[in-house]
């Protein structure tokens, strides 16, 4: 029994990444004694979680920032071709609010998709010609055509998707998962964010650190952004002139001095500090290995497409997501920018699909072949949909679409999800949901359900109230479950 062991019990709330209270106090000392640390099974998390046996152990969320057009990718409305350029009937619009960008338009001309749709797989899922690779894995996917949200602009809408609230300040999905379920890898954070830029629309909407923030949860639950340039994790590399051996020596000396101080003052925080430095040291070794895709076999890289060899692309991030999941990271949140097609939609969306179609499909196949798909949940989608009416000028081969929160499509796959299924239906104009609406809170409830969490029971008391990801709403959508 080491002297830290007994006194670290009150620290679990304040140690890393959901991790570590008891175990790492001991690890700090273990390394002092020259022993090699081993990853713990699960560190951190709340007692009693998961609430029931999870179907998915981890989640990869391929967030398509800017809002892809469901009408050009997933939700065909072939008869609209005949109505091209005619005004969207008031009976469909029903005076619902529009963004300030098109609210002053004097006409709302219908812009049918320029792209051809076909059915794919045994289940016959409809997909546009822009998604040939997704078509290949269509039978693995569950399409939700009846998503809807409350926000009508990017910031509140993305924030809503990531935190369950439109205004800043709430924890993101990954922070909730780390807080509730802890980490399965003692050398890596439980929650990683990866960012890529769209080639279809490179000057697109910004992102914000708060999207992977911890909100009112303790800071250690914030997502760690892995970067494609410089250190994969901020400040990971030793400064020039300091090699690994020197760092090891420094850490040994640091642990000695901190132990002496612990003997003086008895503060158990010191034990936690020692273990955090050891964890940092292990990350210095594990993260570069993890982020280095050069050792992936050529056929794997080829599967993810030509971008896979360029760091920072969506393709490279998909491979990285798989590698993170293989190492027990609970939640990998990708953001791919560039989907905000107010104008020049046909040209831009083709570029966006080139970025994402093949890598997304490859990720599904890769996970499946490695046996990971059955307990990895994958979600693909944006923050809202796009209007059936044209924003700006409708020409023979060009159109734009404004934000549309009333219906849009996402797909899900993997652990716990009903493969080869299409859920929900929109009206003949693709403007309102006609059947089986799925709200963002419902999606969150369903994601948590797949991960073994009853969404009403994962709470944190802040400002006098027990908060949860789904606020006071949300129900699990049973029809999406396998």
């Amino acid at each position: 029994m080491n002297p830290f062991f007994q006194s670290t019990h009150s620290l679990h709330r304040r140690t890393f990444l959901g991790g570590a209270g008891l175990g790492l106090g001991a690890l700090g000392l273990a390394s002092l004694l020259g022993e090699r640390a081993h990853a713990a099974a699960v560190t951190g998390g709340l007692p009693g979680l998961p609430h029931f046996a999870p179907k998915a152990k981890r989640l990869i969320y391929l967030f398509q920032s800017g809002a892809p057009s469901q009408l050009d990718l997933f939700d065909p409305k072939p008869h609209l071709a005949r109505l091209r350029g005619t005004d969207l009937p008031d009976s469909i619009r029903r005076g619902q609010r529009l963004t300030g960008m098109t609210a002053r338009q004097d006409k709302f001309p219908i812009a049918p998709s320029r792209f051809a749709f076909a059915q794919h797989g045994r289940a016959g899922a409809w997909l546009s010609e822009l998604l040939p690779h997704t078509a290949r894995v269509a039978d693995e996917l569950c399409f939700v055509r009846s998503m809807h949200t409350e926000a009508i602009n990017h910031d509140p809408a993305i924030t809503f998707f990531q935190t369950g609230a439109q205004l800043a300040g709430r924890p993101s999905i990954g922070a909730w998962l780390g807080y509730g379920l802890g980490s399965e890898n003692a050398d890596l954070p439980a929650f990683v964010a990866l960012i890529s830029n769209g080639s279809g629309n490179p000057a697109d909407q910004p992102l914000y650190d708060r999207l992977w923030g911890s909100g009112f949860l303790p800071t250690q639950h914030q997502g760690v952004k892995f970067r494609s340039a410089g250190d994969p994790v901020l400040f990971l590399s030793n400064p020039p002139g300091v090699d690994a051996a020197s760092r090891r020596r420094m850490l040994d000396d640091l642990a000695r001095l901190n132990s002496l101080q612990h003997g003086e003052v008895g503060d158990p925080e010191i034990a936690a500090r020692i273990s955090q430095y050891e964890l940092a040291y292990r990350m210095q070794a594990s993260v570069p290995e993890l982020a280095d895709l050069s050792r992936e076999p050529a056929h794997v890289l080829d599967r993810y497409g030509p971008d896979a060899r360029r760091p920072g692309t969506f393709a490279a991030n998909c491979i990285l997501a798989r590698r993170l999941c293989e190492r027990g990271v609970r939640f990998v949140q990708l953001f791919h920018r560039g989907w905000d097609q107010h104008t020049k939609l046909p040209a831009q969306i083709a570029g966006q699909c080139r970025d994402t179609d093949q890598p997304g499909a490859a990720l599904i196949e890769d996970l499946r072949q490695r046996g990971l798909l059955k307990d990895t949940l994958v979600v693909w989608g944006g923050e809202f949909g796009r209007t059936v009416y044209c924003q700006g000028r409708l020409t023979a081969d060009d159109y734009g679409r404004d934000h549309h929160p009333r219906c849009f499509t996402i797909w899900m796959a993997g652990g716990g999800i009903r493969a080869g299924h299409t859920h929900g239906q929109t009206d003949e104009f693709g403007y309102n949901i006609s059947r089986d609406a799925v709200h963002v809170h419902d999606l969150h409830a369903t994601l948590l359900h797949c991960l073994g969490v009853e969404h009403t029971q994962l709470t944190f008391k802040f400002q006098g109230r027990n908060h949860r990801l789904t606020d006071v709403h949300g129900s699990v959508v049973k029809d999406l479950l396998a």
Binding site: H12, G21, M101, P206, N238, P239, G392, Q463
Partner: protein, 1053 residues
Amino acid sequence: MRRLGPSLAFLLASIPAWSAPVEFRRDILPILSENCFACHGPDEKARKAGLHLDLRDAATRPAKSGAIAIVPGNAAKSQLHQRITAAADSDEVMPPTRTGKRLSAAQMELLRRWIDEGAKYEAHWAFVPPAVPPRPVVKDGQWARGAIDEFVLARLEAQGLRPSPEAQRPAWLRRVSLDLTGLPPTLAEMDAFLADTTSKAYEKVVDRLLASPRYGERMAIGWLEAARYADTSGYQTDGDRTMWRWRDWVIDAFNRNLPYDQFTVEQLAGDLLPGSTLPQRIATGFNRNHRGNAEGGIIAAEYAVEYVVDRVDTTATVWLGLTMGCARCHDHKFDPITQREFYQLFAFFNNVPEKGRAVKIGNSPPMVASPTDTQAKELAALDTRLDDARRRWRAQAANLGRDQLAWESSLGSPPDSDWAMADGLHARFPLDGNLDCSEGNQSAAKVREGAARFVDGSVGRGRALALEGTRYLDCGDVGDFGFLDKFTLAARVRPDGARGGAILSRMIEQDADSGFASDSEGYSVHLKEGRVQVYLTKRWLDDALRVETEKAIAPDAWHHIAVSYDGSRAAAGVRVYVDGTLQKTRVLLDELNQTFATKQPLRVGAGGGPAHRFHGAIADVRVYGRVLTDEEAAAMGAPESLAELARMPAPRRSPAQIAKLRLAFLDRHAPEALRAAHRGMVALQRQREAFIEGLPTTMVMEELPIPRESFVLLRGEYDKPGERVQPGFPAALGAAPQHPPRNRLDFARWLVSPEHPLTARVAVNHAWQRFFGAGLVRTPEDFGAQGEPPTHPELLDWLAREFVRTGWDLKGLHRLIVLSATYRQSSRVSPAMQARDPDNRLLARAPRLRLPAEMIRDQALFAAGLLVERVGGPSVMPYQPAGLWKELSGTDHVPGRGEDLWRRSLYTFWKRTSPPPMMMTFDAAGREACSVRRPRTSTPLQALVLMNDVTYVEAARKLAERALRNGGATPATRLAFAFRLVNARAPQPAELEVLMAGYEQQRARFEKDPKSAAALLEVGQAPRDASLPVAEVAAFTTVASLILNLDEAMTRP
């Protein structure tokens, strides 16, 4: 025991001995609030079975069924008791099984005893004004230095505990220096204190620290976070804003010890104080620090509401310690605050003349120019010079009329001449029979879609370009202006009939023969149905500024049109002149948020596409890169030559003609002394205007003359107004005022009235948290029923009363706390005590606290001798890994140079969507919303920052140099020197041994590997002391880095 959480620990420490009577506020209300009030509490709409337990009358009344929830004196007959003790799986049990809640046996027992003892209700403690509590009697009268200590000791003695011994002097000195100034003591300060054996030694230190300007900087840290202060506006666009003059006001207010009641009134309503000063107006920036949404296409009304809600939430959290936001959508579930009362508070903050959509870059109105003291002096000096220049001008101008008359009479003889204002003229195309550019370096314009044709010009003078609705002129890259530029455009036009069209533009041409489209980007001056229209557009429908003149001009006649824009992004910044006369205009759209600059050429007779070609004739096109004065603009309106004007009888001259003659004389023909005086005055006037425009501004609160109507918003939604409400205070927080409150000033004065139950308690609790790491109420944001009750309620009340009694004297309060014996205790903790009171609720020791992010950095810079101490000024950009901003948005972070790298951390530029990574890693709040409590975590990312961030490697390097230069002759003395600089104590022999061994090992390594040594010494911009041996500095740098990474270094002892 793994999950021994704070609530259980608290219960263990706070449950009274069984013999003591149950106290409603302390023992019962928290149980009811947590478990019952969601369905049986103040929120009427959520109430189940008509039962509410928050009021005694209601809870003791028979229900329809005849059952009585609480029968005072008889728990057995009380439904409440029967239901909470029902079998866990029964339908009867409360709280219902689905809530996952279940009372503990101890809680059931407390409720039973409370009912049996008569079920006495009391108002929630925090809503009852504090009384001065009697000083407790303590056994160890020696230990206590004052009331604080008596209250703490009484609690300890009741638990059979003793306080800890005094901290070692060095530890106390480091503690109090960090707590009051955010920086550790210097070696000289340490030596002086250790040598001071007088009885006033501690007081002397505290008074020195309170008098230091660093005190205000340190105190500002928490306040900036509470006030959600930042240097950008947040939301998606997150453009820069300028609020640092407010930040500096805060620092200054702390330093001059502005009493907390005034501190409060000035920040909430300084603008409404009689004869309010500029600093008092700047102070109101507190409630403009909230985020502002500039995203394209937002619904402005939605965010206008969010801003007001933010003000209410923030103000309530900071001053009242209440979660007022809970009452936005429904009555508060736990505290006696109704939704209506929320909107009565909302009404106080809903009268700002603001738009829901924020300005994309810069401050959103209302704002004030906020010169610093230095700038105010510079401005005064400029004014003096301008006065002198005006005096010189007046002296010279005494004979102006006579001189001008003489000149005019000389104009009769040929050659006749014309005159045009040349100052600021970028280009002029007279179009007088050719397409040449007469001023500026432009080549001649080209006619597009046809060949040039000229017709007679105005008043029979010269020629003009004829346009028939297809042809237009391409003037090339002239007039490349954007939304922050100042410019004037002018031309003489003769419209054919009422058809008009575009006169001048730089705008994207639509190919189709149709109207403007969303991408009709650029600027354009049009004539439509005789009205002059000005378009400055980024996106036609929603990001544009469009105005038109009220009066139409006569068709088929020559007119002079001039348009100026002052770069203000507001419709009010556009002026239109017709024939030299300033026109009244109507605003068609006033939503310009992004620049309208384009790569389009300047077109004459075209703008926006073929549908808008000009029909008529155009001449004398001019582009100025400045805003012409009214007189200058008027002068352009007179087409006549100077001789023609001179020949006109003076009374018949129009204002335009008068202006032209006068300006031409002053510009070209007056005696040199007169012209020089005029030039000098104009130059100074412009210099003054530029200076004022360059002043920092601050967004401030202002009151609309007629208050905006406020309504209860159903479900909190901006577009669901319900009942109209007037400003008012929550009834639970005290007696209704004599007169209905009108505005924020009434609100602020209510807040700081001495009888207010919350304001002083919340304020002293913030102070306590600052010095003990946690407040006496550990939920400083929530003093309501769901918050934690105070660990030392009498002490809290005593401090609150004392604070008010001493005139809200903050420095006095801080002095009182840090000179207490409680504060002076050692932070050493035994395993037994750690087990008994892990969260230190009893205060039997001083807390050992990891330093806030700002202090960790400031201390490292200070120890290294790098810290640049200068109070206030624009925010700075210290080191940050490259590309952090760029990968999220378009803009990039450009690190400062030199001193900007080493300022105190509260001056670091705060970008809300990508805050400084070191700060966030060390638990700073993101500044998106109010935060009054920081967690203190321990993570490996923190280790990576302190080991590898250039800031800390550079600091280690400079600390090493400093130790090598000033730390004595041997490695041991130098290491001890560096260690003491950081930790304020000498190292123990065992510690020194570890440092020495590490140093020797590294020195040996670097001596063998000079390249690595050189590489390490290259880190950071601070110049290297080349007189010191490379290997030694490198080796010492690694040890200095080790010292900065010590747990002790980052911890307040």
